[in-house]
């Protein structure tokens, strides 16, 4: 009896500690253990078979081993995936059933919040909790989790074992094991590639569903053509000022980035000596690798004051009205300029790639005919590279339109339409951030409007990307 008791205690202890252990490590131990088992048994078996048949197997012994490995691991992974999805709800349901009524009859939102708390505590260790009851509840949760996992892992283990068994059954001298392995690997790879489609679908679905909910309260017409935006108060959702702000910032950025990017690419790929190129190109790549938040900070501490100072200086000029320029501490111009600086390396590296991809033969032919270098570039390389360059510019525009951090940090928050680029403006992306980082209920029109803006942004960038892709495809066709 005592022994039994200790046995039960031991088991429950094991189960409890099972609940405390991180999921990932447990899974890893399970997977690697079973994997090694499957691989080695199948390999040994393959050699035995070959020795028995006195001729080589149709498939390499290693192929047999890999086959068993796949046969074993795939069911385990599937089981673990299922487990990871269902364990939470099962635990919670079980726990709620045991909770006193004062808790279990709470409204769903509060109950969830409470359970979240327990959850968190269960991961970080229950010791820090003050409430004794909560501490007990957390312990119980861990216990339940241990039980669920015990079942889950047992199931996974069995599934893996079944896989190994199946693999060993299949193993014969002439089994087309290699074809199975090939097929299995291909399916796994295909699934990975398919994930990209899922992501797109996810984006589309989330944007569309939420936008749809938004448009059920706000008419799309007033959203697309309304001139006033006051989402925080939930009153007016006319997005034109945001579109305008986005446009202004993007135009400013492109005015800077396109000529500078283009010419620096041309210089680097055609004129610069290799030593110069070795120096400058990484520098530009550094510029490209700097996170946008850094650019945003740069805009705050350097560009915005500079723009403000310059605007004030212009205002101070005689025969210019004193308030001619807004000279705001944050301005669309500052954001646009910094955005432009950010885009320079983007454009220049794309254009550089395109120019370098122009076959050397064109250059030789051009030189051999007595072209000067600039004639060669303008008359021969440029037409060939034009689709690529256009694509680079389109992608840069798309990037400028979708850029968030710089405008959030440096463009300001005021939705208005003005020709004065030194005044602050807000953009679509900046609004999305400010709408979703504000503490508002998720279902409100204010929050949902962010998704509508997101959908608009997505559509715009999609358009530019498609345009870029289609020009590039045309270039490919022409070159082939």
């Amino acid at each position: 009896m005592d022994k039994e008791q200790t046995g039960v205690e031991w088991i429950s202890g094991v189960i409890q500690s099972l609940g405390e252990m991180p999921f990932g490590w447990l899974s890893f131990v399970l997977l690697s253990g079973m994997g090694i088992a499957a691989f080695t048994t199948a390999r040994i078996r393959a050699f035995e078979l070959s020795a028995a048949a006195k001729r080589p197997l149709r498939a390499h012994p290693n192929t047999h081993a890999v086959f068993a490995l796949l046969a074993c691991l795939l069911p385990i992974v599937a089981a673990l995936l299922v487990l990871s999805f269902v364990d939470g709800p099962i635990e919670r349901r079980a726990l709620v059933a045991e909770l006193p009524a004062r808790l279990s009859e709470l409204p769903m939102v509060d109950l969830d919040r409470y359970l979240d708390g327990l959850d968190r505590a269960s991961v970080s260790g229950p010791g820090q909790q003050v409430d004794v009851f909560d501490r007990a509840a957390t312990d119980r949760l861990l216990e339940l989790r241990g039980e669920v996992r015990a079942f889950g892992y047992l199931f996974a283990l069995l599934a893996g074992a079944a896989g190994i068994f199946f693999a060993l059954r299949i193993q014969t001298v002439d089994a087309p094991v290699r074809r199975y392995v090939e097929r299995g690997v291909e399916i796994i790879l295909q699934a990975s590639a398919g994930l990209a489609v899922l992501v797109t679908l996810g984006i589309l679905a989330s944007l569309l569903v939420e936008s749809f909910r938004f448009f059920s309260t706000v008419s799309p017409i007033s959203f697309l053509f309304g001139l006033e935006w006051n989402a925080q108060s939930g009153r007016s959702f006319g997005a034109v000022p945001l579109f305008f702000g986005t446009l202004v910032v993007a135009v400013v950025a492109m005015c800077l980035a396109i000529p500078v990017g283009l010419f620096s690419a041309i210089y680097l790929s055609e004129y610069a000596r290799p030593s110069t190129r070795r120096l400058i190109k990484p520098a530009l790549e550094v510029l490209a690798g700097i996170p946008t938040v850094v650019y945003g900070f740069f805009a705050i501490v350097f560009m915005a004051p500079l723009v403000q100072w310059a605007a004030t200086a212009i205002n101070a000029l005689p025969f210019i009205p004193d308030n001619f320029l807004a000279a705001q501490p944050s301005s669309a111009l500052a954001a646009g300029l910094v955005l432009g600086i950010m885009t320079i390396p983007y454009i220049s590296s794309l254009v550089d790639d395109v120019l370098t991809a122009v076959p050397q033969e064109y250059r030789q032919a051009g030189y051999a005919l007595g072209s000067t270098q600039s004639e060669l570039i303008r008359n021969i390389l440029f037409p060939v590279a034009l689709p690529g360059i256009s694509a680079a510019i389109l992608l840069a525009v798309s990037r400028a339109v979708g850029e968030t951090m710089i405008v959030v940090m440096a463009a300001g928050q005021r939705p208005h339409i003005t020709a004065d680029v030194t005044s602050d403006m807000t953009t679509v992306t900046a609004q999305i951030v400010s709408l979703l980082t504000a503490d508002t209920a998720f279902d409100s029109a204010t929050t949902l409007s962010a998704f509508a803006l997101g959908a608009a942004l997505f559509a715009t960038t999609l358009f530019f990307n498609q345009a870029a892709l289609s020009v590039v495809r045309r270039m490919d066709l022409r070159h082939v």
Partner: protein, 271 residues
């Protein structure tokens, strides 16, 4: 036993080679790429209005040598050319010579057909246009037509001058490149293995064209096909390891060469 038709390295410039006036006279030409020496003290005379073939195994320096003649080595970083290359008596490497001008009088055709990604017409018109050789559209069209006729392409393309050059076959593209080269009325045409990417039929067409062109131009052709050199050239120079081994009339080179190295290479006995 070198006779009058073969040029031993280092001799004085001759006024004629095999009865043809000398167009290009090279004396002690050396080429280095970085620290690697590609050409050692090559001296030879290239006659006008005939085809001179440069042959030799891979890496023998024949292409490097040819690229000296229109200073295409200038476009390679680290290339250094010394020695005297006189074209019409003027040293092409002297500082007063603008390579642009030089290349306008020395056309070049490359290993792979490399027409520009433009129309057939524009490909031929490009050279005359940048050098402002034609005043007005008619004059330009005349030049294009004449060049295409000379390159034997006119009948094949006259109805589709605006079609992209890439729509032509490989052999036609190469002939287009020749038309492009002769459109700026060069005095010399350099060809760097012009048929190595073509099949025997296209090759034969190009060879026929070269044979026709030699009535007007001084043609230098690099080829690693001895047979092609034999078929197409009047003089042949054999290079080996960066040195000129022998230069002589093609018939002589292929029936009775002076140097053992030449003989061994030609009969397939090398190494």
């Amino acid at each position: 036993m070198p006779d009058d038709t073969s040029t031993a390295p280092g001799t004085e410039p001759a006024a004629t080679v095999s009865g043809r006036s000398v167009k290009i006279s090279c004396r002690n030409v050396n080429v280095t790429y970085g620290t690697k020496r590609a050409i050692y003290d090559v001296s030879l005379d290239i006659p006008d209005r005939s085809v001179t073939a440069l042959i030799g195994p891979s890496g023998c320096g024949k292409s490097s040598f040819m690229r000296c003649l229109n200073r295409m080595n200038d476009t390679i970083a680290g290339a250094r050319v010394t020695g005297e290359i006189l074209m019409n008596g003027i040293d092409v490497n002297s500082t007063g010579i603008d390579p642009v001008l030089l290349r306008a009088s020395v056309g070049m055709v490359f290993q792979k057909p490399n027409p520009f990604a433009k129309s057939i017409f524009e490909n031929v018109a490009y050279g005359p246009r940048i050098h402002a050789l034609a005043e007005g559209k008619d004059a330009l069209e005349a030049i294009v037509q004449k060049s295409l006729r000379r390159s034997g392409l006119w009948d094949e393309v006259k109805d589709r001058l605006e079609a992209p050059a890439a729509s032509l076959s490989g052999g036609q593209q190469q002939r287009l490149c020749i038309a492009r080269a002769i459109a700026i009325s060069p005095e010399v045409i350099l060809m760097d293995e012009p048929c190595s990417s073509l099949d025997p039929i296209a090759t034969a067409r190009i060879e026929e064209l070269i044979d026709e062109l030699r009535a007007r131009y001084c043609i230098v052709i690099v080829t690693h096909s001895m047979q092609q050199a034999a078929r197409v050239s009047q003089q042949t120079a054999f290079f080996h390891l960066g040195r000129l081994i022998e230069m002589s009339d093609t018939g002589r080179i292929f029936t009775n060469p002076v140097e053992t190295q030449t003989q061994d290479y030609i009969t397939g006995r090398f190494g």
